[in-house]
Subunit: 219 residues, 2 copies
């Protein structure tokens, strides 16, 4: 009673608070996992609850809705991505930083992370755009990547004929490219080789580097 008005130091978290946060992380992890495997619509709150090992009702003490939960997963993913990008700042050229970011993203997906996936589901996209935090994070990341693209063009390491906006969206699309899942499921190409080829194809395409001379003779 006497302590009610005493200013408590905000530093130390109670055991219960810690437990709560640990569980919340577990929920986010489980959702991320299921999202990567099943996709947005087919993943039910029952699925998540079972994966975490918690009652479905309890999920709603942490997140007010399925959309909010998924949104939180995506926000965390975007934050991590920006962090990874910040750590790539040591690389010399913008081109290297772009390649590094794509490589990082693909490796994350191989490790079970959900793709950035604005692509996957129209309904999900609409839902996400209603969440302020998500939109803010996405805009910040897009700003960072756009700046990289401009720098790389100035370096002369990106095709100047392509629009910046085109390159930005293409970059996102490569991060979410389903080719990764198809090839991994196929199983005939080792993971590292898949990533190498995807990065190479993003920047150099699937065509031969130099136009083949034999082609002219053929016609």
């Amino acid at each position: 009673m006497s302590s009610v008005l005493a200013p408590r130091p905000p530093a130390r978290k109670s055991f219960r608070e810690t437990q709560f946060e640990v569980r919340e992380e577990a929920i986010l992890d489980a959702t991320n996992r299921l999202l990567a495997i099943k996709g947005y619509e087919p993943m039910s709150m029952d699925d998540i609850a079972a994966e975490v090992g918690v009652a479905k009702g309890s999920l709603y003490k942490h997140f007010e809705s399925k959309d909010a939960l998924v949104s939180a997963v995506m926000v965390r993913l975007l934050q991590r991505t920006r962090l990874a990008l910040a750590e790539l700042a040591t690389l010399a050229t913008a081109r290297e930083r772009l390649e590094g970011l794509l490589r990082w993203t693909l490796q994350e997906r191989l490790a079970g992370a959900v793709p950035h996936l604005p692509s996957t589901s129209q309904a999900l996209r609409d839902s996400l755009l209603g969440h302020r935090l998500y939109v803010d994070e996405l805009l910040q990341l897009s700003d960072d990547v756009s700046a990289l693209i401009r720098d790389a063009k100035r370096e002369g390491s990106l095709n100047a004929d392509l629009d910046d906006e085109f390159i930005l969206y293409t970059f996102y699309a490569r991060s979410c490219d389903p080719t990764l899942d198809f090839l991994r499921q196929g199983g005939s190409i080792p993971d590292a080789r898949i990533v190498d080829q995807m990065v190479a194809a993003c920047f150099n395409g699937i065509g031969a580097a130099a136009p083949a001379a034999s082609q002219e003779a053929r016609a």
Copy 2:
């Protein structure tokens, strides 16, 4: 009565039969449209019925389930794609035929067709793989495209360092690339230019054609 045993010429279709087929086409068209807009799971049979202007129950006289209906849409799409590929046989090189097919697919999508979309939904992919006709068509198309890829490599017009399987899946992924939708929604790049850049980026990548000499000096 007397005509019951007489062999009727199978040639002429009754008015009712024609009507039935016309309506079936309309159902497939509407489903295709909604599929492109909303995606598989969010699209309900009610939506389809409303779009066609027919009672929901009637849909089940044409297709035994939602899955079967969607499967029929995809089969039709694959057949059209193979037809388009056949018409590209007049082009001189395999590389040109590949480029032409990608271009054709992207233009179809601009015109409202659904992407080939094995990517979109995991649940849909599983469902489709249970439909014999779909799997057959997909295998045939894949065989055709794989042959093209081998030919193009022989021409020297595709990067020989990339696995054939990688190129095949990448080609599919480019056909379904969400970049198209993002850019179209953005509205700042004309449709024709979007397609041009997507085809160019698929074969030549987003990197500069020749490695910039200035880059060396920079480090």
